[in-house]
Subunit: 299 residues, 2 copies
DNA sequence: ACCCCTTGATCACATAACAAGATAGCTTAC
DNA sequence: GTAAGCTATCTTGTTATGTGATCAAGGGGT
C-alpha cells in the first residue's frame, strides 16, 4: 500500500471522478485506475463503485478513514520539516541554573513570542548531567559551561561572562587569605558552575575551604551581599545591571578565573528540526543584541 | 515518502543497527541505507546519527512519532481487510420495522455474540427510504420487502413470510365485505410493508377504505386482536409462536397476498468489508436454522 | 430512438525506482 | 595493531510506475 494510492483514493472519493482526480493530482487517468486497482487487488476488496456514478463502496469508505489518518500524519510530518510551520514541534532545552536564571529568559521570551506553537520544555542541571542527557537524546540542545569534549557535536560560544567578586564594601585588591578563610560566600544551589568558580577562586588564593551558602535567587544573593553577609561571584554585566538597587561593589577577578564561557551544544545542524533551527536563530539574534548592549552600556 | 521507508526507520530506531533492521525486515543492509538516505534527502534533515552507535537524531525521533501514527493506521487498515479481526469495524444495517421487530433480534444477537467488536448501527424505515439510503451509501445493507429494481446490487431472499389474517374468533373464510368495511385493522406504524398488505387485502376484497390503527408493538397488536378489537395481518410463524398466549385464530390468505418475501440487499460481495461478509454469513446461518425450525414446527 | 460526448479500462512502451550483492571505508574492541 | 563488525557506495538485473493511445460503456440532449 502506498500513500500515493491513498491520496488518489481520497481524490476519487471527493471528486467522484477518475479524470478529475487525475487532473487535480497532476497525473493521468490511467494512473488513477492503476493505483486504485492495485489497492483493490492488495486488499482483495472492491473500493470504488464504477457502475453508474463513481463512488466509494462501503469498504472504500472504511479504508478512507484510515487513509485520512495516514495522510494527515504524513502531511503534518512533511510540513514539520519542509513547511514554514513549526506547529506541533517540541523543543527540549537543557541549561545550567545560572544560565537559566540570567541569560535564558529574554531568549525564551523572544522565541516563544515568535513561535508560540512550539512546545518548550526546559530542564536544568549541572553541565555533566546536561551533556549526558544530550547524548542520550533526552534533550535537543544544552547550554553548558566550557567546551564539550564529545566530538560530533555542534558547539557555539554564546555567552562570555566576566566574573567579578561582589561585596558590600569597595575593594581594591583580593581580600586577604585570613579574610577569605572566615568569610561566607553566597552561591546558587549545588551543581552551579559559578559555585565551582568560587571554589576555584578560593583555591587560587590558597584557601581550601570556606563557608558557601546556597541561595535560590539572584535578588536574594545580591541583597544578602549588600547587607554585608558575605561575598559572591557573578557576571560583571549582571552586577552592573543591579548595582543601582543594591549598595554593592565589585572587583575584577584574574582572567583565567573570571572568564566563563557558556556554550550552546546540540547535534550537527543537519539533524536539527526546524524548531531547533529557529531557536538557534533566535539565540544568535538575542546574544548579538545583548553583546551590543552590554558593550555600549559597559563603556 | 514511503511507508516502507518509515518501517525501516522504525526498525533502525528499535534495533540501533542497519544490519539488524535489514534482517528483521527481510531485506539487505544496502536497502536500509538507501531508504533512510532517501527519507533524509526528501526532508532535508539527517534522521539517523551514524557516528559512533547508530541512533535516531532529534529530527529522526520527531519523524518517528508521525511514522508511528502512519504505520499503525496502515496496519489497522490492512488487518481490517486481510486479518481475521473485525475490530473497529462499523456495520450500518437498514431494515423495515417489521423485520426489525420480528426477524432481526436473533440475527443481531448471534452476530454481536460472535463479533462484539463490531459497531452495529441499526436504522429502520420503509423500503423506499431504505433503498435510497443504501444507494447513497448511508447504510451498508438493508432488509427490504420485494426485489430491488436497482441493478448492480446483491440481492438475497432471506425470509419468506406467509401472512395470515388474525382474529379473536375462528374463521373458515374471508370475512364478508360488509364486515371488512366496518372492521378495524391493527398494524405497525406508517410505512410498514405489512400495512400495505392489509390495504392490498382490502382492495382484493373490494374494500377501498377501512380503519387502520397503528400500534407500536407486536404484543400490543396481538393483545388487542385477542380482545376483539379487530383484525391484523401477520406472518403465520409469528402468530403460531404467540398463539398459546393469546386467544387468537388465523386464516390463510390467498397466495399472492400472503406471500411476503424479505430480501437482503447490499452492494456486490466484492465490495463487502469483512464485517459485512461475516454478517451475511451469520444471517444465512440463522435464516437456515429458522427455516428448519419453522418447517418442522409448522408440519 | 439516435447520436455524441464523457468516462473508465486496457494495452504497449519508455522510464524510473528498487532490491540484492560485492566492495570499500570507517569505527570499535580486544 | 589487528580483526571484526558496521555502514556507504557502486553495479546490475528486475520490478514498478507513469504516460499516451485506443476501446467499450453509459448518460444526456436533440
Amino acid at each position: 500500500m502506498q500513500l500515493k494510492s491513498l491520496r488518489l483514493l481520497m481524490g476519487v472519493a471527493e471528486t467522484g471522478s477518475f479524470v478529475a482526480t487525475a487532473q487535480r493530482l497532476h497525473t493521468v487517468q490511467s494512473n488513477v485506475t492503476a493505483h486504485i486497482k492495485k489497492l483493490e487487488d492488495e486488499l482483495g476488496v472492491q473500493l470504488v463503485n464504477r457502475s453508474g456514478h463513481v463512488r466509494l463502496t462501503t469498504a472504500g469508505m472504511a479504508l478512507a478513514e484510515y487513509a485520512e489518518r495516514m495522510l494527515s500524519a504524513h502531511d503534518e510530518a512533511v510540513s514539520l520539516f519542509k513547511g514554514d510551520k513549526v506547529a506541533g514541534s517540541r523543543l527540549r532545552i537543557g541549561a545550567m541554573e545560572t544560565t537559566t536564571a540570567l541569560r535564558l529568559p529574554p531568549i525564551l521570551a523572544a522565541f516563544h513570542g515568535a513561535y508560540p506553537e512550539v512546545d518548550l520544555q526546559l530542564q536544568t542541571g549541572p553541565t555533566a548531567s546536561l551533556v549526558e542527557r544530550l547524548t542520550e537524546g533526552l534533550v535537543d540542545c544544552v547550554f553548558v559551561a566550557g567546551r564539550l569534549d564529545h566530538p560530533h557535536y555542534h558547539l557555539e560560544k554564546v555567552f562570555s561572562e566576566e566574573l567579578v567578586l561582589v561585596s558590600s564594601t569597595p575593594m581594591l585588591a583580593m581580600p586577604s587569605t585570613e579574610e577569605l578563610l572566615t568569610a561566607t560566600f553566597l552561591a546558587f544551589r549545588q551543581g552551579c558552575s559559578y559555585r565551582q568558580r568560587i571554589e576555584l577562586l578560593l583555591a587560587y588564593c590558597g584557601v581550601s575551604a570556606a563557608r558557601i551558602f546556597d541561595l535560590g535567587s539572584l535578588d536574594a544573593m545580591l541583597g544578602c551581599v549588600a547587607a554585608g553577609m558575605g561575598y559572591t561571584v557573578l557576571p560583571r554585566t549582571t552586577v552592573e545591571a543591579h548595582q543601582h538597587r543594591f549598595g554593592i561593589h565589585c572587583l575584577v577577578l584574574p582572567a583565567p578565573i573570571a572568564q566563563v564561557d557558556t556554550y550552546f551544544a546540540a547535534a550537527q545542524p543537519a539533524t536539527w528540526t526546524p524548531a531547533l533551527a529557529r531557536f538557534v536563530d533566535t539565540l544568535r539574534q538575542v546574544a548579538a543584541s545583548d553583546t551590543c548592549r552590554s558593550e555600549s552600556g559597559g563603556g
